[in-house]
Amino acid sequence: MLDGRGAVKRRAGARLWLSGLWLAIVALAAVFAPLIAPHDPLMQDLLYGRLPPFWMAGAEPGYLLGTDSLGRDVLSRLIHGARIALIVALVAGIGTCLIGSTLGLIAGYYRGWADRIISRLVDIWMAFPPILFAILLIAVIGTGLTSVIVAIVVIDWTRFCRVVRAETLNQSQMDYVHSARIAGFTRMKTMLSEILPNVLPTIVALLSLEMGIAVIVEAILSFVNLSISTDQPTWGGMIAEGRLSIHQAWWVLVFPLITLFLTVLSFAQFGEGLKDRFDPVLR
């Protein structure tokens, strides 16, 4: 039992640190992009088009991950692309979390008509395929960073709502909730100080996962050219462009794909790791 718990803890620790390390790198890249990036991400130089990454024959020093067909430095574009990715992850993730968790808590704890309305809304929402939903929404409200964020929040609040509601329902049946009510605490106070702390680990895990999802959604929307203007480097945009020259310059496609994959994976793993760390029983 104790050994099992120890093993869980160690595994959780490793994934927390590895994913945290990658996310820290991405965050630093985003914040200090102009200082770190070796080149201007927008600067074209057709003489330097499709340079391979540093270990291949024909590589130019100073262009570590090569250049795309317009001669723009792939590494610099990746670093600048982290800005859009992180802004979307943070704003959309937190917005989705606040709206979904609040509705989930209310539905799960107050039950009654509030629960009926919220749960019905979730059912209706979930009937739409999300990416189609996003594209439709953007078509209506227009492209741009704000639209992408609004679309993610509008579509994905249900993920929080469903899970938080279920978890809240679960906690509401615990004797300590009854005891708080018997002692004379109001429903609001009971919900916020007795139930919420026990649902928080789940919310944190979901938030991190949602940030990863936001990064993917932004990439997909960039890929189909529905995100921000094309000259700003984004990972999704790079993937879309890289696809066109896959046979001549695979690195233009592969590096943003790997970056995207690692980032999304790290968000999910970081959330799980945090959840275990927060869990009072495993702590």
Binding site: G112, D175, H178, I182, A183, K189, N198, P280
Partner: protein, 293 residues
């Protein structure tokens, strides 16, 4: 049958969906400073009586008639806020399951003191002193350290002691204990039982003690109510019950309880014909109740 600290009169509760009665015109009288056992098989409605008093009935149930008097005031006639204030100040619960009765996210100390500070208006300092005091009263060594611990760091018996301490902390006039020893192993059960009855005697609390174990009733109770299908079928003092119950169901229950040699044997079934007779009685009561409604 009056002048008790807690008096329940003619209390009926139904399932909202089906209208089926879960509590059937229950009368219970609990005198100040005494212990009344509330006995019955699982599903008899023991917990629902406690929850009705404390105002935490599940949503699926509804009280349709009756009175619940605490110190002469009918809880069911009070405004919600007033009822909560009266309950919060005068009553406490010792719950059945020590695993879910403490909040896993909070340290022990605040779980005892928050109520004293936020609801009853004590100073934080006074509440902490009081918490230490009651923890020592339930024989927890190193109470100051325990107050800084989380529930999962403590054993089941330890947690039940803490819940008992917490129940007595504000000197309530009435405590409802809902099978407080059922989830514990036998040796711990005995200690906890002794602890509760000692504290009850010292503080002069009125205690409604829910159990399905007549052996426990014999040890600590002054009076008892036997419940079947949400109906009180026997209401008597402990001595006369063990000298010979009046009701067939009470007699069968007593006969099915051996004189505490084999704890499992207390689960012996009550004979079918007795059950059939009690059921018929319930059916008759329901028919009359519907007609009088």
């Amino acid at each position: 049958m009056s002048g008790g600290y807690l008096t329940i009169r003619n209390l009926s509760a139904v399932l909202r969906d089906t209208g089926e009665r879960v509590l059937r015109s229950v009368d219970i009288d609990l005198q100040p400073g005494t212990i009344r056992g509330l006995v019955g098989e699982s599903g008899a409605g023991k917990s629902m009586i406690g929850k009705a008093v404390l105002g935490v009935l599940p949503k699926a149930l509804k009280v349709v008639e009756g009175e619940i008097l605490i110190d002469g005031q009918d809880l069911l006639k009070l405004k919600d806020a007033d009822r909560r204030r009266l309950i919060g100040a005068s009553t406490a619960l010792i719950p059945q399951d020590p695993l879910t009765a403490l909040n896993p996210s909070h340290r022990i100390g605040p779980q005892i003191t928050n109520r004293l500070v936020d609801i009853l208006g004590w100073t934080r300092r006074a509440a902490e002193v009081r918490a230490l005091e009651v923890l020592e009263e339930v024989q927890i060594a190193d109470a100051a350290r325990v107050m800084r611990q989380y529930p999962h760091e403590l054993s089941g018996g330890m947690r039940q002691r803490i819940l008992i301490a917490s129940a007595f902390a504000a000197e309530p006039k009435l405590i409802i204990a809902d099978e407080p020893t059922t989830a514990l192993d036998v040796t711990v059960q005995k200690q906890i039982l002794k602890l509760i009855s000692n504290l009850q005697a010292r503080h002069g609390t009125a205690l409604l003690f829910v159990t399905h174990d007549l052996g426990v009733v014999a040890k600590i109770c002054d009076s008892l109510s036997v419940l079947y299908g949400g109906k009180v079928v026997e209401d008597t003092d402990v001595a006369s019950f063990f000298n010979g119950p009046h009701h067939a169901y009470g007699r069968a229950l007593l006969a099915a309880t051996p004189r505490h040699t084999d704890p499992d044997a207390s689960l012996l079934p009550v004979p079918d014909d007795v059950i059939a007779a009690v059921r018929a009685e319930l059916g008759e009561a329901d028919r009359q109740w519907v007609r009088h409604d």
